[in-house]
């Protein structure tokens, strides 16, 4: 059965060369798919209702998730409420394509209600007016509650997003608590400068909360993206309206309820489940929203920025796609490089290295393609190391070992122990990835491993490795966001830097070498927001993350993330008879 989509998605307009056995369910992933047009008024929506999935198990009967879905409504002003329209949408188990729950579908009217609640909470409520230490205490209690409910949260995240339970429970949920504690610690340390003046003036800088922040998060790391966005916004004293991805609305609703249990005043955090063209667009265009933060595809990011420009010029933070190079020099330990490159790409569907929590955390995300590493997860990570450049002297060995590693990768039910890679998020992503695989074959790349779906049911894809990839091939240029590793050969540092930088993206890069000078040179020469040297996907709370070029605007995490949620006010007054200037 051909995976033809009637939708107007950019992707679907490409020829679809190869039969794919899956079909999509429900509506497509706006964020994930990278459609640029869908949000603009008057543009065609690219959603379609494709035939229900053929329901053959990937490898086995799915494991029953050990959790109940408690929250499916919108969270507005501290209450769970139905959508104004009364409508709901289905959120689906990517292992099977079955419906997990029907979730209230927020649209423009619900965004209006949520923004009004946030506005009140910010303009009149206690949150920005209490001491930073009190805000800190709320976030610390929230972190404690996350740990107390870790099993439920992880199960929800795995069920809704297809990530392995080992990854969500072992890495992501602890990281959410860790991020929250990090931002809690910043709340009472937000300092403005007292500034030297040219004349007799006393000048100080106040960093004030920016107001109501609109935040849109993707489906690839729903909880981690929640933490990256909500943590700094709340620590700085803002109110928030958060739109989750329609593929993964469940975990955010759950943890938002915990945040209220921790003492967050009503209206400070509002969560609206819904779709990009309706809820997302309304949030971006809203005149009562003071700031936007978006993580998702570059195409959608452009729309977000455009809507901000057309409405009230609200500042925008964007964390977008990538085609991140992973560079293996000839002096690298090839075995280690293979493993890291593998994980760098495949991260996010599987995680065998759960214990390495802090490092592995990688976050990853959304609509990006990714690195193979840790992930065999599904490669659904924005900073996935999706272009693996290998020095000619170790190239053959590297390809051979990468093949072996990919063939070894365990694909299956993410609730099952030992599984490294779960399903892709939905039918649309699944088909898109397989189209890219076909494109690789057609353009003459050597298919070394994988290349097809895994099993006959759900959105599982075999770990796929292409060798002999050329720069001009589509699989070397576009973000696949799936478990597809592309290996390219290079000869010199100058060459690989030039080729690595020849991309509209600039999210991250990996450099694998023992040579200090080469590492230092490449660290500065690569036009990307993160360079990992002899490691990959280290996502510590204090390390800033974000892109150069079309990979985004601004930085998240670290002290840098606070800037996104603070206004800067200079206060100037004359000083008479100053003792010093």
């Amino acid at each position: 059965m051909a995976a033809r989509r009637a939708a107007s998605s950019i992707l679907s307009r490409r020829p679809i060369p190869r039969p794919v056995a899956a079909s999509s369910i429900g509506e497509s992933a706006l964020l994930g798919a990278g459609s640029a047009r869908g949000w603009l008024p008057g543009a065609l929506h690219r959603f379609s209702s494709a035939p229900a999935a053929a329901a053959a198990a990937a490898t086995e009967e799915p494991i029953q998730p050990p959790v109940d879905v408690k929250y499916t409504k919108l969270l507005i002003n501290g209450n769970f409420v139905d959508a104004a329209s009364g409508r709901t949408f289905a959120t689906v188990d990517p292992r099977t394509g079955d419906v997990i729950a029907h979730v209230a579908e927020g649209d423009a009217e619900d965004i209006n209600r949520a923004v009004a609640a946030a506005r009140r909470a910010f303009d009149e409520g206690p949150w920005p007016r209490m001491t930073a230490y009190e805000r800190c205490r709320v976030l610390l209690r929230f972190a404690d509650l996350i740990e107390q409910h870790a099993e439920e949260i992880a199960a929800l995240e795995t069920w809704d997003g297809g990530k392995t339970l080992e990854q969500t429970r072992g890495m992501e949920v602890p990281m959410v608590a860790r991020y929250m504690r990090y931002y809690a610690g910043w709340a009472d340390k937000i300092h403005g400068l007292v500034v030297p003046a040219d004349g007799p003036h006393h000048v100080q800088v106040l960093h004030e909360p920016i107001g109501v922040a609109g935040q849109i998060i993707p489906w690839n790391f729903p909880l981690l993206m929640f933490a990256w966005k909500v943590g700094p916004a709340l620590a700085c004293g803002n109110a928030v309206v958060l739109k989750t991805a329609e593929q993964t609305p469940l975990s955010a609703l759950f943890v938002a309820s915990l945040l209220h249990e921790a003492g967050l005043p009503e209206g400070v955090l509002n969560v609206v489940s819904g779709f990009g063209p309706t809820a997302g667009a309304a949030l971006c265009s809203h005149m009562g929203v003071d700031k936007l933060a978006f993580t998702g595809s570059t195409g959608t990011g452009k729309i977000v920025l455009e809507l901000a420009a057309r409405s009230n010029l609200k500042p925008v933070t964007l964390e977008l796609g990538g085609k991140s190079p992973f560079i293996v020099m000839d002096d690298a330990d090839v075995d280690q490089a293979v493993e890291l490159a593998h994980r760098a790409l495949f991260f996010n569907q599987v995680c065998r290295y759960v214990h390495d929590v802090l490092r592995a955390i990688a976050l990853l995300a959304t609509s990006f393609d990714s690195f193979l590493w840790f992930v065999l997860e599904q490669g659904q990570c924005c900073c996935a190391g999706s272009r693996t450049f290998v020095h000619e002297r170790v190239y053959d060995e590297f390809v051979e070992k990468s093949k072996a590693r990919a063939l070894n990768r365990v694909v299956g039910d993410p609730f099952r122990r030992g599984v490294e890679q779960g399903p892709q998020i939905d039918g649309e992503q699944f088909k898109k990835i397989l189209r890219y695989v076909q494109s690789g074959v057609d353009s003459g790349a050597t298919l070394v491993a994988g290349g097809d779906r895994a099993g006959s049911r759900g959105f599982y894809i075999q770990p796929t490795v292409f060798a002999d990839v050329k720069d001009e091939m589509k699989i070397a240029q576009e973000e696949i966001f799936g478990p597809v590793q592309t290996i390219l050969k290079f000869s010199t540092v100058e060459e690989v830097v030039r080729r690595a930088n020849d991309s509209p993206y600039g999210l991250a890069a990996g450099v694998f070498t023992q040579r200090l000078d080469a590492a230092n040179t490449m660290a500065r020469a690569l036009r990307v927001g993160t360079v990992w040297v002899n490691t990959y996907d280290v996502f510590d709370a204090a390390v800033p993350f974000g892109g150069y070029k079309m990979s985004g605007v601004g930085r998240e995490k670290g002290v840098y993330s606070l800037r996104n949620y603070l206004q800067t006010k200079a206060v100037v007054t004359p000083i008479k008879d100053a003792a010093w200037l």
Binding site: Y133, E134, G185, K189, H202, N520, R524, A578, A579
Partner: protein, 535 residues
């Protein structure tokens, strides 16, 4: 009698208190002193012995330093991530909070501090400091540098090593956490010498730190005396840094010992003779309340003074929410605080009215048992201080200062002194740190004169300004050579606000991110760059 005495009042409950920890805490265990000696700690309410405490001296300091050295050089504390240290400090804070009542009672019997204020301020304030630095532990940043040659340069902020902390008796809990929290966050190990008057809560904190997961040897507590244990710390060749809070005279000895031994860096938080300057445009009632609090602070409960608007004490809102750190404490009278506003300059237009109101307020203060919630002012810390304060009062009188109110002991036993006010132009009581409930009121005419008088001291710890005029506030703030300026408030302490003196009030800051600097070394790392696309 100038002030009401509440000593005879029995209508309140003194909590039953068991003294659990009386030995030295070294390498994670409570141990006797090597010498086997002990000393008495006394209840300043009665002068009676509270407990016998193991008396550490040089031999014990050596053992403690050895443990700290081992913990730093080979132990996990500096090797775990800042986040992990922060988690342990958070746990420590939770434990402190869970023992608030017991700890407040310890400080009360040991230091005569108001029990209610200990519960509301000192102990929660200690937990707040711990949480502040727990949150700071993963935010210690070095910097990458802009080099003048094709080089890559960056700085590493490394823990300084083994720290010696010498802590005073006036705020046993607060001072303990001023010193210990940032040093722990930075990854240092340490030997703490609490004051011989107030060893009890420090030993309890050592116990709680261990329970929270601070590894053995990281935090050692050695009660003892300055000339023996304190001197051993200051001159120890294996201590990398000494942090001291106390008198200027002793601070000088500490620095000298550091110089003579291994040139260890020293930070000193010393005495003060802090001015409060009240300008003509001030709200008189507010100014009187503020000055009263500023002068008599440490053993007075401000919350019973409705005339004191909450804004006056910057910390008071905090206070009411249990988050303050420090000091609010007691304000009225004992004056046992280094930042006490002990020189009060009042502009001539409101001077007479000010003196009258200040005197009335002093007379209304209730002096008595600090466990009594009706009491505003407790006893002085010990017999020495008590006698020293009375001596200064006598000198003031003989030098011709006008005694407006107070000036005498209060009650039959214990170390209670009436809130006392002198007025005059020049008096030695306006030059030296009395550390007692004695206010010196003086008149001035112009802003320039006020600045000049305020600065005419060898101290520079803090200053208060009471005015509604923005230009006066800003000008005087920059002109006064002191480490803390409180405008229309006093005791504006906050975990995020660095505190420490100018001039002979010391150097180095406690609190805020600045305090971390005391416990960190900066290391610059430089390597050449080849073929770099930018510099």
């Amino acid at each position: 009698m100038a002030a009401a005495v509440a000593n005879g009042d029995k209508g309140f409950e003194v909590p039953k208190l068991e003294i659990k920890f009386t030995k030295l805490f070294i390498n994670g265990r409570f141990v006797d002193a090597v010498s086997g000696k002990t000393f008495e700690t006394r209840d300043p309410r009665t002068g009676e012995v509270t407990a016998r405490i193991a008396e550490g001296d040089k031999a014990d300091v050596d053992l403690a330093v050895k443990a700290a050295r081992e913990a730093f050089d080979h132990g996990p504390w500096p090797r775990m991530s800042g986040f992990q240290r922060g988690r342990i400090l958070h746990k420590f804070a939770d434990l402190v909070e869970q023992h608030t009542e017991e700890l407040a009672a310890l400080d009360t019997v040991d230091a005569g501090k108001l029990f209610a204020m200990g519960k509301a301020i000192d102990i929660p304030g200690g937990a707040n400091l711990l949480r502040y630095y727990a949150g700071a532990a993963d935010k210690i940043h070095g910097e990458t540098l802009k080099m003048a040659r094709p080089c890559h340069g960056y700085t590493l902020k490394e823990p300084v090593g083994v720290v010696g902390h010498i802590v005073p008796w006036n705020y046993p809990t607060t001072m303990f956490f001023f010193k210990v929290s940032p040093a722990l966050a930075a990854g240092c190990t340490m030997v703490v010498k609490p004051a011989e008057q107030t060893p009890l809560s420090a030993l309890f904190y050592a116990h709680l730190a261990k329970e929270a997961g601070v590894p053995d040897g990281v935090l050692n507590v050695v009660p003892g005396f300055g000339p023996t244990a304190g001197a051993a710390i200051s001159s120890h060749m294996d201590i990398d840094k000494v942090s001291f809070t106390g008198s200027t005279e002793v601070g000088r000895l500490v620095m000298e010992a550091a110089a003579k031994s291994n040139l260890k860096p020293v930070s000193l938080e010393l005495g003060g003779k802090s001015p409060v300057i009240v300008f003509d445009d001030a709200d008189l009632d507010m100014a009187v309340s503020l000055v009263h609090m500023a002068t008599y602070t440490n053993k007075v409960d401000l919350s019973d003074y409705p005339a004191v608007p909450s804004e006056i004490m910057c910390t008071s809102t905090i206070c009411s929410k249990f988050s303050s750190i420090l000091h609010i404490n007691s304000a009225i009278l004992q004056g046992e605080i280094c930042v006490a506003g002990s020189r009060i300059y009042v502009q001539e237009g409101i001077y007479d009215a000010f003196v009258k109101k200040a005197s009335e307020m002093a007379k209304k203060s209730v002096v008595g048992d600090p466990f009594n919630p009706r009491v505003h002012q407790g006893p002085q810390i010990d017999k020495d201080q008590y006698e020293k304060v009375l001596k200064y009062i006598d000198i003031g009188t003989r030098e011709g200062a006008t005694l407006v109110t107070g000036g005498k002991p209060c009650g039959e036993n214990g170390y209670y002194i009436e809130p006392t006010i002198f007025t005059n132009e020049e008096m030695s009581i306006a030059q030296e740190e009395i550390f007692g409930p004695v206010m010196a009121l003086m008149k001035f005419k112009t802003v320039e004169e006020a600045i000049q008088k305020a600065n005419s001291t060898r101290y520079g710890l803090a200053a208060g300004i009471v005015t509604k005029n923005i230009d006066i506030a800003n000008t005087v703030s920059r002109s006064i050579r002191a480490g803390a300026i409180w405008i229309n408030c006093y005791l504006g302490f906050d975990p995020d606000a660095p505190f420490g003196g100018y001039k002979m009030s010391g150097f180095g800051k406690d609190m805020g991110m600045d305090a971390l600097e005391k416990y960190l070394h900066t290391k610059a790392v430089v390597t050449p760059l080849y073929n770099t696309p930018w510099l």
